[in-house]
């Protein structure tokens, strides 16, 4: 997949919305997304972190580099709490 497919996640990345977001994310990844824009995420909890981790994994298994771009404060805070800043630093270095 040579052209970067850019998908933006918006709204709440929390458990009440987990099923919706999962569906969106799964479809996006299946479509070959390589950039996830997280600027529009207002809330993020553990279910959200899991989704981001799973998306990154999926990308790795497909040998795609997934860039998590433009993470909002909510996403950044939660990832930091879990010691997962590395997911983001990848994004920043790119």
């Amino acid at each position: 997949m040579s052209t970067a497919i850019d998908t933006a996640l918006v709204g709440s990345l929390t458990i009440p919305y987990a099923i919706e977001q999962h569906t969106l994310l799964r479809d996006a990844m299946a479509a070959g997304t390589s950039v996830l824009d997280l600027g529009g995420i207002t809330e993020c909890d553990t279910s959200g972190v899991q989704l981001l981790l799973a998306a990154t994994r999926r990308a790795q298994s497909q040998h795609v580099h997934l860039e998590l771009r433009n993470a909002s404060g909510a996403v950044r805070d939660t990832l930091q709490r879990y010691g997962l800043e590395s997911l983001l630093s990848k994004a920043q270095s790119t």
Binding site: R58, R81, G83
Partner: protein, 707 residues
């Protein structure tokens, strides 16, 4: 969906609503405790737990409106628990408002329809909750972060290993909040998230939880305190806490438990090493080469689950109508058993009599048991008033504390429900008009804080509920003036204080304008009295000017069946509740001296008591020559005598209400069917007492008063 499915669902939903209401009650209670004692961390936990349970069960049923809103409430509580948000007055107000909103949402579920206005409220309240959470989160975090390291260096470094259970998130338990909370105990030096159990994106259950966490925490706290943080998660995670001085064996065991194979072990070790950095415990350094495997320690979770299962079986939910049917049936059984006894006596068969007596005893036990099933403690109703007192006193700008005692006093469930409204009225009255504003209290030399007490206890077969305050008491003169103005009493009437106080219960007394310290808001005290009387209870008021007033409600233990004392008056049978019969004596000489008088007084061992001749009172002619008796009954503290023609002994009585045609009969409260099939009338003792006492002071003919 088949009908039976629908039925099952309906029952389950009713169960959910019941449970949710209980939780809501606990939620409110905890909030009020938090408000009065902000240091009580258990109250915050308890509120959190209650909200959480509501959310969890609502989620199971798919009541999304409840889930989404409760989630916001829970999140705010979570922040409060972690000390990120101070429990300001605004926060408390918002939480209480949210509680009301939760109640509305639940009643929507109950009525099975949705109101857009309620949904809009949910949105706006939810927004407020989020805003409060957001505003405080940013400001509170930085000081915590800077404060922690100072104390950290001296403390030991604990190692925590958490493996989340699959349902943690679904149950509303986000590990992030618990980990955040950890930082109140010390410094979280490092955290690694283990995601090796995370399935592929397409197979992922987005509401499941797959993560594990390895945490290093520098803290001076002890093990119990640290484990306490994860108390809510106990069911949903596996937690291993290793002390700063943990031995190699302990790390080894943890490793064996967490990592099923060598690759995973190596990965976990690497993670630990990374986490600990140069200060890694010696074990982690040494462990690199070791390969032997150890037996994993048995799962602790299975034990706790079993315990909980035991607790749950302690209660069974039963539909109220089933219980009512049982009580009805037992009522019939009581009558039938009395009938059998009667036949036995008539047949003069000793063996039959014995058998009938045995049945009678068993029926009595069954009756007590069946009635006991309907009994619930009144405490739940009482605690509801915490909120009322808080809200109303705030509104009025008064400072009032509520004292509750005797909350475990039990009474019939239907009565508990019916009595809540009259109690509410009394409590509001006390707050509004009884307890004075602070300045007035101080001027009168009383403590600034008003005192309102709810008290319940059992007394001679009835339940007594008291609402008392230390306010200014009833204004005797104003009540009397008002009553005269309204022509409720003649202008020249000479009334005792008690009689004057009772005037406030007259219809048309308190509804018009705010005349007494007890005037109501639309509903008068007469309605309260009517409600209480509908339960075969009575209400009295005692007042000490300047010191306060006490409203006393006296209710029978149960509505359906009583132990009766059967008497004959003028050829008909009358039943008295056995509990109130103190003793039976021969008619005293004072009564004999005036056979034509309906009422009078007699001397009982030096005490002057009123009496009422029931034959004359009910319009019979007393039999001449036969030996009559006087039954001494007590009602609360007052005692008085009832002259009857004959005593027929104990009799279990199933009370049937009188048909509406007879409602105006004041001194009769119901009827019952005797074993012989005859009808007996149940005497309304408080009614009779009112006549006995009133007529000793008045000369008006009785018939006129009771027609």
């Amino acid at each position: 969906m088949t009908t039976s499915d629908e039925e099952v669902l309906a029952i389950a939903r009713a169960g959910f609503l019941d449970e949710a209401r209980e939780n809501l009650q606990q939620f409110e209670q905890s909030l009020l405790t938090m408000e009065s004692d902000p240091a009580d961390t258990e109250a915050v936990n308890s509120a959190f737990r209650a909200a959480h349970t509501i959310k969890g069960t609502a989620g199971m049923f798919g009541f999304d409106a409840v889930v989404l809103f409760t989630h916001e409430v829970e999140s705010l509580l979570d922040h409060i628990r972690e000390g990120q948000i101070a429990l300001s007055e605004a926060a408390m107000g918002l939480l209480l408002k949210s509680r009301d909103q939760m109640e509305r949402l639940l009643s929507e579920v109950g009525q099975n329809h949705t109101d857009p206005a309620i949904a809009a409220d949910s949105d706006s309240l939810g927004h407020e909750l989020r805003e409060l959470r957001g505003s405080a989160g940013a400001t509170a975090q930085s000081p915590a972060a800077t404060a922690a390291p100072a104390s950290a260096s001296a403390d030991g470094v604990w190692h925590l290993s958490l493996q989340m259970g699959p349902d943690a998130l679904r149950n509303g338990l986000d590990p992030a909040s618990f980990i955040r909370y950890l930082s109140t105990l010390g410094e979280v030096q490092g955290i690694r998230t283990l995601s090796h159990r995370l399935p592929d994106l397409s197979e992922l259950d987005p509401e499941g939880c797959y993560l594990g966490f390895e945490i290093r925490l520098a803290s001076a706290s002890d093990r119990a305190t640290i484990e306490q943080v994860f108390e809510f998660l106990r069911e949903d995670c596996d937690l291993v806490v290793l002390a700063p001085d943990a031995s190699s064996e302990e790390f080894e065991a943890l490793l064996a438990k967490r990592a099923p194979d060598e690759a995973a072990k190596a990965e976990l070790l690497a993670c630990w090493q990374q986490l600990a950095g140069p200060d890694a415990p010696p074990f982690i350094e040494r462990r690199a080469e070791k390969t032997e495997r150890r037996v994993a320690e048995p799962e602790r979770r299975s034990g706790t689950k079993e315990r909980r299962g035991g607790d749950e079986t302690r209660f069974i939910r039963v539909r109220a109508d089933k219980l009512d049917k049982l009580v009805d049936l037992i009522g019939e059984l009581v009558i039938a058993s009395s009938g059998a006894q009667l036949v036995a006596t008539r047949e003069q068969s000793a063996t039959f009599g014995e058998a009938a007596l045995r049945i009678h005893d068993l029926v009595q036990e069954a009756r007590d048991g069946a009635l006991g099933l309907r009994m619930v403690p009144i405490g739940e109703t009482f605690t509801r008033f915490q909120r009322v007192v808080r809200d109303v006193s705030k509104q009025l700008g008064k400072d009032v504390e509520l004292e509750i005692s005797g909350g475990d006093t039990e009474l019939d469930k239907s009565m508990v429900e019916t009595i809540a409204d009259p109690l509410m009225h009394l409590v509001r009255n006390s707050l509004d008009h009884g307890i004075e504003p602070t300045e007035e209290r101080l001027a009168a030399g009383k403590p600034a804080r008003g005192h309102l007490a709810l008290h319940a206890y059992h007394e001679s077969g009835s339940v007594v509920i008291e609402v008392s305050d230390d306010g200014k008491g009833l204004n005797r003169e104003r009540i009397l003036a008002k009553a005269i103005e309204r022509e409720l009493v003649p202008a020249n009437a000479e009334l005792s204080d008690e009689e004057i106080y009772q005037l406030i219960f007259k219809p048309g007394f308190s509804t018009a304008e705010q005349v007494t310290n007890l005037s109501g808001r639309g509903v008068g005290m007469d309605v309260v009295k009517r409600n209480v009387e509908a339960l075969r209870g009575q209400i009295t008021v005692a007042s000490q000017p300047g010191r306060g007033a006490t409203m006393q409600i006296r209710l029978p233990l149960t509505l359906a069946i009583i132990d009766g004392f059967l008497t004959a008056v003028g050829g008909a049978s009358y039943v008295l509740p056995l509990d109130i019969v103190a003793e039976c004596i021969a008619v005293p000489a004072e009564c004999m001296a005036h056979p034509e008088r309906v009422t009078g007084t007699f001397d009982l061992r030096g005490e002057v008591l009123p009496y009422l001749d029931l034959s004359l009172f009910y319009g019979h002619t007393p039999p001449h020559g036969s030996r009559r008796s006087l039954v001494l009954v007590r009602d609360g503290v007052t005692r008085f005598g009832l002259v009857v023609d004959r005593l027929l002994g104990e009799h279990q009585t199933v009370i049937k209400p009188l048909s509406p045609i007879f409602r105006h009969l004041k001194a009769i409260s119901g009827s019952t069917i005797l074993g012989s099939g005859e009808v007996a009338l149940v005497m309304d003792v408080p009614g009779l007492m009112a006549c006995a006492i009133a007529s000793t002071t008045r000369q008006r003919p009785l018939a006129q008063r009771f027609n």
